[in-house]
């Protein structure tokens, strides 16, 4: 059940119609049932996984505040982390490590017979295990209170809008909203509508229509590509993945708003960032913050001198890359961002944290950062490291305006251009909800445009959300 499907909107209309007729407790039970239906729609066999992870983490949280002995508390938190990481490791990384091990052993002259599992990755496993783990770690650290009962916690874990592709909501934000009575305030409907409209436009109109261009370029032999075509392919993928992922987050936010729940922002116009550190404060914010709080800072953060800071940054980004999937391309992508963070740090963070001395400098810095991010996307999108380097090599093939470049470039402009311009205004004014502060007729025009584009220009083939696989 994906947000850009008729079945989801039928399902949500039914949930919404019941939801506001129920008392608070009934609403929570409805959200819990809805969450399991939503998740079970993908593959009901993995509902047990979700339930097991929920039960383990609930009881770990429950006992963490009731046990004083530090040794037992450590045992509890270790149990939670091990259970969650075992699930993640088994479903996501087992095959990868077995393959790598087999290759290594073969290269050493052995004939390994390692087990091969053909298992489907449970959708959204990286999101809900990280969310669940953050809950127990926060309780362990004394930064959060446990849920009062199992259904309450199960509702928090299985809350359906962010369940399969985030944002990874901390207990400190989402759990109190589950626990307390919810009301729809003046302006909530408008805000929800705005998020849903923008999200649908990003996903259906932009991401899914740019996918064929990016696919075509990344599927072509690198030797046949000109630099212009390669550049257009990378730009197309940059806007595809941004539209896809931020579109999902936006719809999740809008849907939640109509349920009286505030989700955190997962994206804040990241392609206008002037430095890697700013980029990670604007791109997949909930994962960046998770990695910062539960990995980078425990590793020592920037408190142990420059060398250790650089090592910590690199380790964090490598694991951030690996979080996306068991593939060397994701690890390389993480390493690239680690290098960028270190390089900018060496150059001096002040230059990029303070406002630029002129608008031109700011634009040039943002332009440079955008291209560095795009370079990283080549690794992220490529099938292998070898292909990534071949594609990078294509950037040296000369900037020729071929028929395909003109065709793909025109489509790229048509699909991504309007969003880019709108977000530029929103960025300049620092308003995430820019249209809501404008006169009603401007919203009518914006939403009218979005509806027309979504209805008349849907993708030729429906695409699932990229981040569902992570």
């Amino acid at each position: 059940m994906i947000f850009n499907s008729f079945i989801f909107w039928g399902f949500f209309a039914l949930v919404l119609a019941l939801y506001w007729r129920l008392p608070h407790r009934g609403q929570n039970y409805l959200l819990l049932v809805a969450g399991y239906i939503f998740y079970g729609f993908w593959d009901w066999r993995y509902l047990g996984l979700l339930a097991f992870s929920t039960i383990v983490d609930f009881y770990v949280g429950h006992y963490l505040v009731r046990v004083d002995e530090e040794r037992k508390r450590k045992l509890l938190i270790t149990t939670s982390v091990i259970v969650n990481l075992t699930f993640l490791g088994f479903f996501k990384y087992f095959g990868f490590f077995v393959n790598e091990m087999a290759e290594l052993l073969t290269s050493l002259g052995f004939q390994p017979h390692l087990p091969v599992l053909h298992i489907v990755l449970p959708v959204g496993i990286s999101f809900y295990t990280f969310q669940s783990m953050a809950y127990t770690i926060d309780i362990y650290r004394g930064r959060a209170q446990p849920a009062r009962n199992l259904p309450e916690f199960a509702t928090y874990v299985a809350y359906f809008p962010p369940l399969v592709a985030g944002p990874i909501e901390r207990a400190s934000n989402l759990l109190p909203q589950i626990q307390n009575e919810r009301r729809l305030k003046q302006g909530d409907f408008a805000e929800g509508l705005y998020h849903i409209m923008i999200g649908l436009a990003k996903k259906v109109f932009i991401a899914d229509n740019l996918a064929p261009i990016a696919n075509r370029v990344f599927d072509m032999p690198a030797g046949d590509l000109t630099a212009t075509e390669m550049l257009i392919g990378v730009y197309a993928f940059a806007f595809q993945i941004y539209g896809d992922f931020s579109g999902y987050s936006s719809i999740a936010q809008g849907v939640s708003k109509w349920l009286g729940i505030n989700l955190s922002y997962n994206f804040r116009m990241p392609y206008f960032s002037r430095s890697p550190s700013e980029f990670w404060q604007r791109w997949h914010i909930s994962l960046s913050q998770w990695l910062r709080d539960y990995l980078y800072i425990p590793l020592g953060g920037n408190r142990r001198g420059p060398t250790r800071t650089h090592i910590n940054l690199m380790l964090t980004m490598l694991l951030g890359g690996l979080w996306h999937g068991a593939n060397w391309t994701f690890i390389a992508w993480g390493a690239w961002h680690g290098l960028l963070l270190i390089a900018y740090r060496v150059m001096g963070t002040d230059t990029f944290e303070k406002p630029a001395s002129s608008r031109t400098i700011a634009v040039l810095q943002a332009l440079a950062m955008f291209h560095l991010v795009c370079f990283g996307w080549i690794f992220f999108r490529a099938e292998s490291i070898h292909q990534a380097f071949e594609l990078i090599g294509a950037l040296g093939h000369g900037f020729v305006l071929t028929d395909f470049a003109i065709y793909a470039g025109s489509l790229l402009l048509f699909f991504a251009g309007p969003l880019f311009v709108y977000e530029w205004f929103a960025y300049r004014r620092n308003q995430m909800l820019l249209a809501l502060s404008q006169p009603a007729w401007q919203r009518v025009a914006l939403y009218g445009y979005v509806i027309a584009m979504v209805v008349v220009f849907p993708p030729l083939t429906q695409q699932v959300f990229i981040y569902f696989q992570f």
Partner: protein
């Protein structure tokens, strides 16, 4: 509870939502008015009720020639009229259609209309186009050929999933959605350089991949799906109950294909007749515009062959 609902309504951006709904309604009305001018095919679809009513007057002997672009390019009605001078002939051949579209079209335009009576319905097909396994287009069904009342039994009109039903309903209610492919293509043809060239190339590549995967499937020894003809049999029964007989014509295309034995079984049970025109004397590669569509010369050859076969078939029936 009431206060919550009240809050929900108060929180609504009433003006924005109503303005949007009004805009959508206006665009929809505009499109419905302008629809026949958007493409030749849409103009033909809009004319279908009139074409059928004009030819299918109960007082006259009449024949309805139904099909898609294969039949449209392949058969010239004047040639049939010459060979069957007592017959009033209607040619209805909307592009891209297949069994599911034809079923709705025949039910709503022929079976259910009292003022319409055809002696014979001739349906041109190729491959498995008349089987239950043929692909449908829920948008096209919802917008052009079926009615909302058909949703009472979605499977009977080929709708398998909730997505299909959603698409059917959306296309039935919203013309902008129903005509999105036409609008999209018209816009891009004008606004995007090389659009036709690359779209055709990518369509051909997609078709090639599909064919390749089918071949690989066959090479792996996978069984061909079993084709069934229950829907067609139902249509034939309904037409029969109105006194209309059905003849299906296997049309020629450049590649060869088999007529499914299950379809031939229907002929054996005397439910319908099959005319096999896959190979016609005098037709060769030079008579094709592409892999499947005949040119004007090919149309003349095939039409004469069909007229001769129809003449025999109709004579034997009487």
């Amino acid at each position: 509870m009431t206060s919550r609902l009240g809050a929900l309504l108060r929180a609504t951006e009433t003006r924005v939502v109503f303005a949007l709904l009004a805009a959508i309604a206006l665009v929809d009305i505009g499109l419905r008015l302008a629809e026949p001018r958007l493409s030749g095919n849409l103009a033909h679809v809009a004319e279908i009720p009139k074409i059928i009513a004009a030819a299918g007057e109960p007082q006259r002997h009449s024949l309805l020639l139904l099909g898609n672009s294969l039949t449209n390019n392949g058969v010239a009605s004047p040639v049939l009229s010459q060979a069957l001078p007592d017959m009033s002939i209607a040619k209805v051949t909307p592009d891209g259609t297949g069994l599911w579209d034809w079923q709705c079209l025949l039910d709503h335009q022929v079976v259910e209309r009292r003022e319409v009576q055809f002696d014979t319905v001739v349906i041109g097909f190729a491959w498995h186009l008349l089987s239950d396994q043929t692909r449908n287009d829920p948008s096209r069904l919802g917008a052009l050929y079926c009615r909302m009342s058909d949703l009472a039994n979605p499977r009977a009109i080929g709708l398998e999933s909730s997505g299909d039903i959603g698409e059917f309903v959306a296309a039935n209610l919203l013309r902008t959605y129903a005509l999105r492919d036409t609008l999209r293509n018209r816009f891009f043809q004008r606004a995007v350089p090389n659009y036709v060239q690359f779209t055709q190339a990518s369509n051909a590549a997609r078709a090639g991949i599909a064919e390749h995967s089918q071949e690989a499937h066959r090479a792996e020894g996978a069984k061909e799906p079993e084709y069934t003809y229950r829907t067609l049999a139902g249509v034939v029964d309904r037409l029969k109950s109105k006194g209309t007989r059905v003849i299906v014509v296997a049309m020629p295309v450049q590649s060869s294909y088999q007529i499914d034995p299950q379809l031939l079984e229907l002929e054996t049970s005397r439910t319908l007749s099959v005319i096999d025109l896959r190979k016609v004397a005098g037709l060769d590669r030079s008579h094709y515009l592409d892999e499947m569509h005949l040119n004007a010369a090919g149309q003349q050859i095939l039409s004469k062959a069909l007229a001769a076969d129809l003449h025999l078939e109709l004579a034997s029936a009487t």
